[in-house]
Structures are given as C-alpha cells and as structure tokens.
C-alpha cells in the first residue's frame, strides 16, 4: 500500500503531507530564531549605557543584501508559478537566478565577515586605544589603518556620521597590551551578530543546496510526476521565503538599531 496524500491534498485538511511537514518545521524554526532574538534583547538591555555598539556594520552593504534576498524571493515564487503554468523553461531561468542570488548573498556576507576579522582594537600599555584595519603585521610592529579612540572605549561606530579621519598608524609590539579583532569574542553585540547571521547563512546555504538539487538532477521528476515536482518546488520555496523573512528582521535589528 502506498502512503496517501503525497501529492493530492487530503479532503478534510485540504493539505498534502509535505505541506504540513514544512509548516511544522518552520514553526520550530520560529522558536529557534525567536530564542536568539530574545537573547539579543536580554544582552542589549543588559549592556551598560553606551556599551552597545551602534553602526558597527555597513548599512549599505546590509541593504544591498536585503535587496538580493528579496529579489531571490520573487524569483522563487515566479519559478513555482511558471511550473503551475506548465512552463518548465521559464522555471529553469527563474530558479537559476535564485541560486545565483543566494550565492551573491553568501559572498557579500563573507566580505562583511572578513572585514570584521581584520578590524582590530589595539590597547597600549598606557591605555591609549587605536582602532582600525590591520595592514601589516611583523614580529616587531603592526600597522593599522584607523584612528585613535578619544575617550575610553568607543561604541559609536565609524560606518557613518561624523567619523575621525583614518590614517596609517604604526605601533610597536612592545607597546601593545592587548590586541583583539572584531570577532564574536570582542563583545556581546558581535557575539550575537555572528551567531545570528552565521545561522542564517547556514540556512541560506542549505536552502540553496536543496533548490540547486531540484534545479539540476532533481528536476527529472518533472517529466514523470509534474505535480509532485511542483509541490517540491513549493515546499523549498516556503523554506526560502522563511529565510528571507528572518533576514527582514535581522537587517534592521543588527544594522540600524
């Protein structure tokens, strides 16, 4: 006996199995990201006044990536609509774009990550603080392209607004008390930033792999069982939209506020 409702919806629920499955899965995803957003709030209200960095990220890049994801969402939906309208060729084109956009997103994200990992805060023995991007590192000295931090630790970022001019600064190793890049260990803002965006990026990659499979080898199913294939595209699309939806919140929360 075959498992029923794999393709056709069940009468009383009006749903086919995978549709129920994906929504349940997305419900659990809501709780997963929800817990991380809750943690974000706790960390943020727990930060001492002035400690929470604002504007550490480049908003324009973030906005660009938002547009990339939104665009990928429309191509996913159009790909599915094309199948509904029996146009397999168009599906291939749209979904091809989706995959490209997903890759674009990940590439841009990795540039952002690299930027943070090469961005250093250098504390000297006399507690002067320099902040900037590492240009050179030798056993005796380092050179960073940045500026001196005026009063204590700086929280307001340099991504926009009135920023101090950046210059190349050479610092002798012997003077350095502590030198740390802007990785997740640097402060709780960066910790939650990296955790949330990395988890999100994993979802993007996972989604892209599935979509890629259904675009390539998996698309053979269209010939034998078009309805089932269309369902699969719908399911993968639902997941993709969810990933987009998470980003819709991540962007303002991490980049703007």
């Amino acid at each position: 006996m075959e498992i029923p409702y794999v393709v056709q919806p069940r009468q009383d629920t009006g749903l086919y199995n995978a549709k129920v499955g994906i929504w349940l899965f997305l419900a659990s995803e809501v709780m997963l990201f929800g817990a991380l957003f809750s943690s974000y709030i706790i960390l943020r209200i727990g930060a001492a006044p002035g400690e929470w960095p604002v504007g550490l990220l480049n908003v324009w890049i973030g906005m660009g990536n938002t547009l990339v994801l939104i665009t990928s969402s429309i191509t996913v939906v159009l790909a599915w609509a094309s199948l509904k309208m029996n146009n397999f060729a168009k599906f291939k084109v749209y979904q091809g774009f989706t995959i490209l956009l997903a890759m674009t997103f990940v590439v841009i994200k990795s540039f952002e990550y690299t930027d943070k990992f090469t961005h250093y805060e250098v504390v000297l023995q006399d507690n002067t603080i320099y902040d900037g991007h590492l240009k050179e590192r030798t056993p005796t000295h380092v050179v960073i392209h940045g500026h001196k931090v005026e009063h204590g630790r700086h929280a307001e970022g340099e991504a926009h607004g009135s920023k101090t001019p950046h210059t190349d600064i050479r610092i002798e190793r012997a003077q350095i008390k502590k030198m740390e890049n802007y990785g997740p260990w640097h402060n709780t803002y960066l910790a939650i930033y990296f955790t949330l965006t990395a988890l999100h990026a994993l979802h993007v990659i996972g989604g892209a792999v599935v979509i890629g499979y259904l675009w390539g080898p998996g698309s053979k199913l269209w010939k034998t069982d078009p309805e089932r294939f269309t369902n699969r595209i719908e399911i993968s699309g639902l997941f993709w939209h969810f990933v987009d939806l998470v980003w819709i919140f991540l962007f303002p929360v991490l980049y703007l506020l």
Binding site: I3, N17, L24, E29, A48, T188
Partner: protein, 600 residues
C-alpha cells in the same frame, strides 16, 4: 475488514515480491515498525547504561572514598586518574551524575516512550500504512544513534564527560576544563535534530494519515498523548538548541553570552573575556525546554496506561473527552511554567506569582487524568496480567510524584526543599516507578504484536513485584532526606554536612539516621538492578520460546493496532481499515463479544 486469523506467516503474500536484504531490513529500514524496534532496543540499552552509572554513584554516596568493588579497578584502567585506586573522584561523580540525567532523559526515556512506542503503535492505531515521511523517520533514528555515540565517546576523552549536571548551567558549564561539555552540546544538537524530525513526522502522520472514519474524537488516547508530546518537542526544543549554540560559542569562540562582566577565574584574577552576558539567560532557555520535557516523559506513559487499563478492565475509559481536553491543557500550559525551577535565582513577587499560579493550574489537568483513569476501574472486570499490574502501579506512583510536586511548586515552600533530595524523590517517582513502569507495561503488552509470542507471565509478575518493592525502597527514604535538608549532587553523599563530620558544636547537621538511609537506598537500588534480570532474560528468551499467540488479537482489544496480521507486514493492513466507532468499545450491551473493534 476482517482481521486475519493466520499469524504464523510473518509476511503477507502481497509483499513477497521483493525481499529486502539484512541491512535494508534492519538497519536502513524505513518501515515504522522496524524503526520503532530499533529505537526501543537502543533506548533499553541506554536505560541499562544510565542505571549502571547510577549504581556506581550510589556506592560513592554510601561509602565515600572507598574503592568500588569489582568495577572500581576497571574504571581506573579505562578512565584513568579520575578513578584512581578504584575510588570515584568528585569529577567522575559529577560526570556520571550529569550523564545519568542526560542519558536517562534524552537517550532512554524519550526515545523509548515517544519514539519507540510512537513509531510502532501510532501508525497502527490510526490505521496508516506507515509514517508520513518514512525516509525522514530513518534519519531521525540515525541522528539519535549518532548523538548517543557522541555522548558515549565523551566518557573516554581526556577530562571525561560533561560535569555540570544535566542542566549544564553556565558559567560552570562554560568553564570546566576539558571538552566533555563540548561533546555534550554537540551530542545534544544531534538529539534535538532527531526529536524535531520525529515530532514533525508524528504530527504530520496524525493529521494526514488517519484512516477513513478515524475522526479526532475516535483516536485512542495514546495517539492524543503522542500528538501533544510531539508539539512539546517541536516548539520547546529549538530554544534549547539556540542556547546550546550559544554555549558552544562561549566555549569555542570565547564569546560571553552567559558570562557577565567581572568574572574571576580560579586564582581570583579577572577572566580575559568580553563579559556582558547573562547566566540566567541559559537557565531560562534550558527550562523553557526542561519543563515541557518532563511532560514529554510522562504523557506517552499516561497514554500507554490508558490503553492497557481500558483493555484489562473490559470497559470504556471513563471521561475520554476530559482526558483529551486535559492533555491538551497540559501541553499548552507546560510552556509557561518553566521558571518554577528558578524561584531561588532571585525572583520578584509578580513573576513568581505568575509562574506558581500556572504551576498550580497545570496540576489540575494531571489530577483530572489520574482521576479518569482511576474511575475507569469502577465497574470493570479487571484482569491482573503483567501489563495491567505495571499500568495499575503507575497510578499511585505517579500520584506520589505528582503530589510532591505541589510543595515544590509554591515558591515559599520551595525555599526549604529546593535542590534537596526531596526534588530528586519527586521527579524520580514520576519518571522511574512512574514512566518506567508504564513503559514496561507497554513492552509486555505490545510484545505479542511485534513478535507473535507472549513474554512469560510468571517471570513478568516476579519482575513486577520486585521492581515495585525496590523502587519504593529507593525513592521513599529520599523524601525524608530532603526534608531534613540533604542536598543533591553531593559527591560524598552529603557526608560533609553530617552531624558526625560537623561535630557537636554546630546545630542541625544531618542526623545519623538520615545518613544511614543512604545505605538502605543504595542496596535497594542495586537490588532493583538485579530485579531486571528476569525481565532481560524473559525479553530475549521469549523471542524464540515464548508462548505463541493464537490470534492476531490476543488481548481481545478494540483499537486498530490489534486488527492487523501478526507481526504486521510492511504496509500494516491487509485492506484499508474503515473506522466506525470510538476507541474503547468494550462490553457494549447487546454485542456478542465483550469487545467491538473500531473497524467493525
């Protein structure tokens, strides 16, 4: 559909066309029944393993700093210095304690109660051919197995397994040297993944694959219990997953999610971390899972007990609807009571009032469920076979465990009882003599369906009476210990807090009598272990030598799981069952037999 009366053939003729090989049949199977059995056997192994850890810990509790007989030298040889001279060091005690809790909860009881019984029984009871997503089902089992292996391996890495309790509170968990905690977290991620996939599968199956006529209110109560349990897993586990990810980040990426500013490491010097995190955040996220999790441990057990009681009283369950509404209420409320584990972290009046109110409210549906099951006995014609004995014993055992939850649920009385053996006794009464008895009942009950043979009744009864006596002998004295203030997680069995140690110039040390009860408890615990030997032998012996069933429905039950060939073939039913009535139509007046199957 007529139930087939032949049972000697394991396979129906219709599926003879392709005989799958060994690997496909037993290891990479997608058949829900095989997966159920895989889960069951693995979980029983972990149950035994979890017990053995505790058996060794009980030695240390009772005879602190004395070498463990027999296994002590073995521990020393395998694990090294943590068991130098065969003596269990505090590190080892903590590792075993944390792993006892973790293994019992996540690797033994949940997989057995939810996954094993759920897999085997639910599709049969709703008249489905399989789970909705058989392949995902297989993956869930594999994720569980991998998680289990990771947990087991962690015992042997340098530094040993996780040592911060099954609750893994930060900052302790983030700081203990060694990688045990890292293994724990990664293992948990696999187990969580397994449970999430399982939960999706169960819910989708129950929503989508019910046989024609199997309306919601005709579902056996066990299916309802599994349905709610699946929702608990689905929505409560992800926050723990998030917390696990953050704790992993704290460990490997040196973030400070759970580490506040100003922490001083062992020497007293300030730790080199960014700080700014919140230790209580971990506790919230942990207990957000932790509390629903305890209902995950109990609801399937209640479901099993309900099936068996209906069957062996030969009459319908009293108040089926109340049962269903109660289990839904429990499921719903269990998400908003979690902080009753955190009263003494420093809680204001408002929020603790909220949480203790919800805690009191959630006890009401439990009372209703218990009452319905008890009242169901009235007017029955009670058969005392082994499954029924275990199911009946479940009721007062859960009653004791549940009732003792109440003084813990009020913050003010919790001040005295928190983190004492009273808590240990409370929850073991629910999970050990409670859930384990229900699970054993289930094993004795469904064994004939899975294998075509009965387990021995005589040895079953021996197993039952010994287990009942020793379970109580283990956990009853713990209430007194806790009431006197004996604290849990003491690697010396609280000897340092005993009158004998503190001396007479201090008031209120633990009395000799209380300390001596450690001896009673431990001996009872070891005896409890021995009492399982008849069961284990019976379990394997009966596979080949048990009394054969003479009908596909040996217990004369009404639910669909008994209206299949024995054992059920791939695809379960000979023909699509059509459901006509509720689940417990026993002794219907005017019917020829005292049971009316749902599909007739």
């Amino acid at each position: 559909m007529q139930p087939t009366t032949t049972h000697s053939h394991t396979h129906g003729a219709h599926e003879a066309h392709h005989e799958p090989g060994f690997w496909q049949k037993y290891v990479f199977s997608t058949d829900h029944k095989v997966i159920g059995i895989q889960y069951g056997v693995t979980a029983l192994f972990f149950l035994l393993f979890g017990f053995l850890l505790m058996a060794m810990m009980r030695w240390q509790i009772t005879y602190p700093q004395k070498p463990i007989p027999v296994v002590g030298s073995l521990l020393n040889a395998v694990l090294g210095d943590v068991a130098a001279g065969g003596i269990m060091s505090p590190d080892l005690y903590n590792a075993f304690g944390a792993m006892h809790g973790t293994i019992m909860v996540f690797l033994a009881i949940v997989p057995l109660a939810f996954a094993a019984f759920g897999n085997f029984v639910v599709p049969l009871q709703i008249g489905a051919v399989d789970m909705a997503f058989p392949r995902i089902n297989m993956v869930s089992y594999q994720a569980y197995a991998i998680g289990g292996v990771i947990m087991l391996v962690s015992f042997f890495i340098p530094g040993g397994a996780a040592q911060a309790g099954w609750t893994s509170y930060s900052p302790l968990a983030s700081w203990i040297p060694g990688h045990g905690q890292t293994f724990w977290i990664i293992g948990m991620v696999f187990l969580i993944t397994s449970s999430l996939l399982g939960a999706v599968n169960f819910i989708a199956t129950i929503i989508q694959l019910r046989a024609p006529g199997m309306t919601w209110m005709r579902m056996p109560f066990f299916v309802w219990a599994q349905f709610v349990t699946a929702f608990l897993l689905l929505l409560a586990f992800p926050p723990l997953e998030a917390a696990a990810i953050m704790q992993l980040m704290d460990k490997v990426a040196h973030t400070s999610f759970f580490l506040p500013t100003g922490l001083a490491v062992s020497g007293g010097e300030l730790a080199n971390i960014s700080g700014g995190g919140s230790p209580l955040l971990w506790q919230h996220l942990f207990w957000f899972l932790g509390h629903p999790e305890v209902y995950v441990l109990i609801l399937p057990a209640m479901g099993i007990v309900c099936e068996i009681i209906a069957n062996n009283t030969r009459k319908p369950i009293w108040g089926y609807k109340s049962l269903v509404y109660s289990v839904l209420a429990i499921g719903f409320l269990s998400f908003i009571v979690w902080a009753h584990h955190m009263y003494l972290t420093g809680m204001g009046t408002k929020i603790s009032t909220f949480f203790q109110t919800t805690t009191m409210i959630i006890s009401i549906p439990s009372v209703i469920i218990l009452s319905c099951l008890l009242i169901s006995l009235w007017g029955g014609s009670i058969r005392f076979n082994t499954p029924m004995l275990f199911a009946l014993a479940f009721l007062p055992m859960f009653g004791i465990g549940g009732l003792t939850g109440l003084p813990l649920g009020l913050n003010y009385s919790d001040i005295h009882l928190h983190d004492t053996y009273y808590v240990i006794a409370h929850f073991h009464y629910v999970v050990a003599p409670g859930t384990i008895f229900a699970l054993l009942a289930g094993i004795y009950f469904w064994y004939p369906k899975a294998t075509g043979r009965f387990m021995s009744e005589f040895w079953g009864k021996v197993h039952f009476w010994l287990s009942l006596i020793f379970m109580n002998a283990v956990f009853q004295p713990m209430f007194a210990q806790g009431m006197q203030g004996m604290l849990r997680r003491m690697s010396d069995g609280a000897a340092n807090y005993s009158l004998a140690k503190v001396g007479t110039d201090a008031i209120g040390g633990l009395t000799d009598a209380i300390m001596k009860s450690n001896i009673t408890i431990s001996h009872a615990a070891w005896a409890l272990g021995l009492a399982q030997i008849p069961f284990i032998i019976n379990f394997f012996w009966s596979l080949r030598h048990g009394k054969k069933v003479t009908s596909d429905n040996p217990w004369e039950a009404t639910t669909l799981d008994w209206q299949t060939p024995t054992p059920p073939p791939h695809g379960n039913f000979v023909a699509q069952p059509q459901v006509h009535r509720g689940p417990y139509e026993y002794s219907v007046p005017g019917q020829p037999k005292d049971f009316t199957p749902q599909n007739t």
